[in-house]
Point group: C2
Chain length 198, copies 2
């Protein structure tokens, strides 16, 4: 049942490892190489309607139909970036409406809002070393610090270059981007035998 939501074309051999050898630059390359978890672009509301279909012994939670309205399967097949292999717990067989019916829904909504934010944070951070949430946060922090230091050095260099030739700023160049390679090469290991230049 799981394979219906995640088409087999996006499935990978279980021997993952050692992909994306020299892909690097810093231009936000797409990250659709492996997908070990659900860390991909959250196209719309996707990770909402997972129970009742994914898990065979689904919970009988009365999900509100205007919120968890699952898209037609054609649209589902067009977007192979749902969570490939679910890791967590099953949606529990609870739902005895004792005193927390909408609470579990609200918590679920909050949870996958947070997961969406994780997804699009991962979309803007290159070189995410591992796929954990913790590593993503650490890489985001180091990337922000690195970007900030690069901005500082570039500002300093721009000031020096501009006081060298004050007329340079008013010209229109052919917009060829350059990347300063000293002091910010920073080869980062992505696995056992792969690296990426940031």
């Amino acid at each position: 049942m799981d394979d219906l939501l995640c088409p087999p074309s996006s499935f990978l051999p279980p021997t993952s490892s050692s992909q994306f050898c020299t892909v690097g630059h810093q231009v936000l390359e797409f990250v659709s190489q492996d997908l070990p978890e659900q860390w991909l672009f959250h196209d719309g509301m996707m990770s909402k309607n997972v129970d009742g279909e994914l898990w065979p012994m689904g919970s009988t939670l009365p999900r509100s139909p205007q919120l968890s309205e699952l898209p037609p399967p054609s649209l589902l097949l067009a977007n192979p970036q749902c969570h490939a292999k679910r890791r967590g717990r099953k949606p529990g067989p609870r739902s005895d409406g004792r005193h927390s019916v909408g609470h579990v829904q609200a918590e679920r909504q909050r949870r996958d809002k947070l997961n969406r934010r994780f997804c699009d944070l991962r979309a803007v951070v290159p070189n995410v070393s591992r796929m954990d949430k913790a590593s993503l946060l650490a890489d985001a922090a180091t990337y922000i610090a690195e970007l900030r230091s690069r901005v500082a050095s570039l500002e300093e260099e721009t000031n020096k270059a501009l006081e060298e030739s004050p007329t340079a700023a008013s010209r229109g160049g052919p917009a060829s981007k350059f990347l300063q390679v000293d002091e910010t090469v920073e080869v980062r290991m992505m696995g056992r035998d792969a690296a990426a230049v940031v």
Copy 2:
């Protein structure tokens, strides 16, 4: 016993609300203005030893003494940034060693590792609009995009200024090479954790 870990000087009036007005810019100002939650710098291992002391009906979990070794109280008083008001659930009255004794510890360790990462992500992101985790992630993503666009514009400006006056490049800079970013950078592995750009 609780007050020893969290000194009363860091306690807040219960009427929190409306902090972090316009503090921002982007220069990594310190964020020690209000502390509505535990989003502060995680000085060392602090959020580990919280149960059994904070909650009156604490769990009787046998925490390993070499991991949750709390620092001397003098160091604790010097750093008043523990979590002020705990929000979550109590550490459950379980701990019946049926089949998951170290599992709850491992999960707890993972949880506050993630919280530490949240803390030091929050340390490098300015303008954190609200104190939620979700807002922090969203602000981090937008801040990364903003920093990146600023780097791009600064690089373009630097290049224009440098190709206007080519004597600036041969100035006293320490071998500042420039590398065009459109062509592939070939990283060659020299060992297990070393690489060379050729």
